[in-house]
Amino acid sequence: MEFSDYTAHALIEMLDRRDISAVELTKSVFDRIAEVEPDVHAYVTLTEELALAEAAAVDKRRAAGEALGPLAGLPVAVKDNMATKGVLTTCSSRILNNFIPVYNGTAVQKLYDAGIVMTGKTNLDEFAMGSSTETSYFGPTHNPWNIDTVPGGSSGGSAAAVAAGEAVMAVGSDTGGSIRQPASLCGVVGLKPTYGLVSRYGLFAFASSLDQIGPITKDVTDTALLLNVIAGHDERDSTSVPTDIPDYTKALTGDIKGLRVGVVKELMGEGIDVDIKAAVEASVRLLGGLGAEISEVSLPHSEYALSAYYLIAPAEASSNLARYDGVRFGHRTQDEVADMVEMYMKTRAEGFGDEVKRRIMLGTYALSAGYYDAYYGQAQKVRTLIARDFAAAFNQVDIIVSPTSPSVAFKMGAKVADPLQMYLSDVCTIPVNLAGLPGISVPCGLSGGLPIGLQMIGRAFDESTLLRTAHAFELAFGWHEKPNL
């Protein structure tokens, strides 16, 4: 077993005992990257030199007996839509193919402060708009379980890196499922925290009211460790909530006796692959066996979630992405232009890919005078109704479960030409973002050699109960599968 196959919590103990040095660990991860990256293409940018220097610094501090952060010396990958000072940050877009931030985002800074060794910046669907990591300007990422299939998206690079051992842990961002769905497709754990738990400062905005940064890890304990570091109020983010952050690892008791678990009726029917449905049903029985009380819950408005999401998210994106105009940074057209407007048009025509353009146009339309009430206004009402559905369900149960993705990893290229089919990949995850709740995906089986994810949803800011449930399930289920790369 390679060092890069260990979980973070196991490696922390090994580093503490000095069974291994941070430099050795980092080298082993980069050896693994050298071996599999040509097949997987999880990264846009690798920062090996920087990583080795950071690792050496950690080893030095450890040798000197200095205090170390909770994640000291652990190689962690960062999705390439988070500002990293001095390190290229592209959003996998041509329009930012030369952009080097002058500051660190809050989550990134917290990771650095915790002592991580950043391995590099991971690939994503351009501007996090997609469910397959195929829309990246730098080419697609491949699923380590079968490189002919997609890793999911948009945090496909982060999920694939963790699954392939190209990083011990990773951070991703989730707007409509972009952490959970790739985690599901790559057989790893992915958590979207409650909206407002983790600062968005430094996250290149896609849809501001939905975006959250979260961990992608090998197991639930690692997720808790990483969440401990990145959670917390940030005065730079007005939407981050001042709330006490517990030690999430303390919640992992393995005991869920008496916990009330509800299965979402509407997400277990049409459109869900039979193997996935069976795996989720088996998982629910397993939870019952652990002492949880199982029932069925209804989210009657969830059928409108996808439509509402594809108005709200593009509307916000159409405004968030306006700043990529060629004036101050990023790509600018090299063509001769007659005036400013033509410069804008050519720059953006060249800089953005088709899916990004599609969403900017959708969003611009949805916000237009005369259409605002019918589209954006109506979508906000649906959002309120969905939040109420969840509130009602949480009167009956403590944790809600569903599949994470309606299908396992699909063939590369299979849905590129059919955006609506692609959008359906997030049908189970989107309602959670609209309601601002925490959701986690944990592996719960295989279908045709490809992983299946179980989604668990908790109450707002109750990540402790959510992680406790996921952890108890993980222990009982005993997931030890690995991709055969």
Partner: protein
């Protein structure tokens, strides 16, 4: 045919807060371009705005002083449009939920006081400044354009009036009063030339008795009170001429050219902008605690109306003088400081409103920048009261003092230019003059009082104006008795 003039104003005020509206950069003016900037106000990817509490408080104070209701919940929206002076290509601005609505301002103009409605006060962020390199200095025809983002993100308050003004002078009086209130609040420097106070006007005409508004034009680029009045007068005349010739006013934005004394069309084709406003998802609603609003209301400083009333009452000034001094805060402050230093209010006000005002005007000096301070005026008035100098001499000494900043007493001391009040010294001169003018003495004895003026004038001439006219008068009468 006579038309009713309908004018509404839109005023933008840059606040003088310590930091910008949504980031920690300082609010500056005239700094080296692009030095008061950070990733937030440069709109770098990933940054987020944080509302400046000091700006919210200032906005609430403005709303309260304009008799507005303060919205318990107000929020920021995004106004989307592309322009290179706006880093994010959207402006964070209040839209349908502004901080203050429904107020008024009582404006006196030419002996009449009318109540002008205030529609709303809202907060937004200023843009950067474009500088166009090339022949015209405007964007069309420029070789290239550069941008300075020091101003980007500076807190900007928009104050919108109802279309309640009926003359150009009334609009001017409104702006003068509004500025005096903002200065009393201390929330802005209100410098029209530097652009910290900017005013746009909507102008339309209609027949008297009509309740519907006529087609309006929006006039921009008026950088002084005088420019506002001239631009409005021009625009009213232009529209009147159009209508009386059976032509139509086109709804458009017009640019005031101060040197040319005319407005010109800014946008030839009428583009209906769709700003696609929506609530800014990066910010949460601003909740105004009613107790906090009451605390702000209670803490409002003395506003011009109250000050005029007090100056009239305490200092015995005329209504007109009191109003002028209250509307011009630095002038009012000057007076109060002078009186606090022991000067008589009436005399001090007289000097302020006439000699000092004229000299400030003549030399195009702001009172804050003048070398002549309350201390100088106190000194000057003391010299007059003590009889050391005459009123006429005082005017000369004032001019020297204003120009050099030297205290009047020092000027008098150096030139030795004092009034001769010494009876012995004056007596000799009076005797000489009387001896040389027997005819005048005769006239005076015959009851021709005019003759005394002639005699005094002769004595003043001989003393180069230094004799105290009062003392001379007494001496002549005593000697002839």
């Amino acid at each position: 045919m006579a038309y009713e003039i309908v004018i509404g104003l839109e005023i933008h005020v840059e606040l003088n807060t310590r930091s910008k509206m949504f980031c920690g950069c300082p609010v500056t003016f005239g700094e080296v371009p692009n030095t008061a900037v950070c990733p937030v106000c440069l709109g770098h990817p990933g940054v987020l705005p944080v509302v400046n509490a000091q700006a919210v408080e200032a906005a609430a104070l403005i709303g309260l002083s304009l008799n507005c209701a303060i919205a318990p919940n107000n929020e920021f929206a995004r106004k989307n449009y592309f322009y290179p002076d706006m880093p994010k290509d959207y402006q964070i601005s209040q839209f349908d939920l502004p901080i203050a609505i429904g107020g008024y301002l009582d404006v006196g103009d030419r002996g009449q006081t009318r109540r002008i409605g205030i529609t709303r006060v809202h907060m937004e962020e200023d843009t950067g400044k474009l500088i166009h390199k090339g022949a015209t200095g405007r964007i069309h025809g420029a070789d290239r354009s550069v941008v300075d983002f020091n101003r980007a993100g500076v807190p900007l308050m928009e104050i919108v009036s109802e279309p309640d003004m009926r003359t150009a002078t009334e609009a001017r009086a409104f702006l003068v009063k509004l500025r005096s209130i903002l200065l009393a609040l201390g929330v802005s420097n209100c410098n029209m030339e530097e652009g910290s106070l900017r005013c746009d006007a909507n102008v339309s005409l209609r027949e008297f008795g009509d309740t519907e508004l006529g087609v309006k034009t929006e006039v921009k680029n008026m950088n002084s009170f005088k420019a506002l009045q001239r631009a409005l007068e021009y625009e009213v005349e232009r529209q009147t001429s159009l209508l009386t010739h059976g032509e139509r006013v086109i709804q458009e934005t017009r640019h005031w050219d101060d040197a040319g004394g005319a407005t010109t069309s800014m946008r030839s084709k009428e583009e209906a902008h769709d700003y696609r406003y929506f609530p800014d998802p990066d910010l949460v609603a601003i909740v105004m605690d009613p107790a906090e609003v009451e605390r702000l209301r209670a803490g409002l400083p003395e506003l011009p109306d109250a000050r005029a009333e007090r100056l009239g009452r305490e200092f015995g000034l005329s209504d007109d003088d009191a109003k002028i001094l209250a509307l011009n805060k630095p002038l009012g402050d000057f007076l109060e400081e002078t009186v606090a230093g022991g000067a008589a209010a009436g005399k001090a006000a007289n000097w302020l409103l006439h000699e000092l005002a004229a000299e400030l005007n003549r030399t195009d000096t702001e009172i804050e920048d003048a070398a002549f301070t309350p201390r100088h005026l106190i000194d000057l008035l003391q010299l007059i009261d003590a009889g050391t100098i005459s009123g006429k001499m005082a005017k000369e000494i004032f001019k020297t003092s204003f120009a050099t900043g030297r205290l009047p007493a020092a000027i008098v001391k150096e030139t030795g230019n004092v009034q001769i009040t010494d009876t012995d010294a004056l007596g000799k001169i009076v005797d000489e003059v009387l001896a040389a003018n027997p005819q005048a003495i005769e006239d005076l004895k015959n009851g021709q009082e005019r003759a005394i003026g002639f005699l005094v004038g002769q004595i003043m001439r001989l003393t180069q104006g230094k004799a105290s006219p009062d003392a001379v008068n007494k001496l002549i009468r005593a000697k002839l008795r």
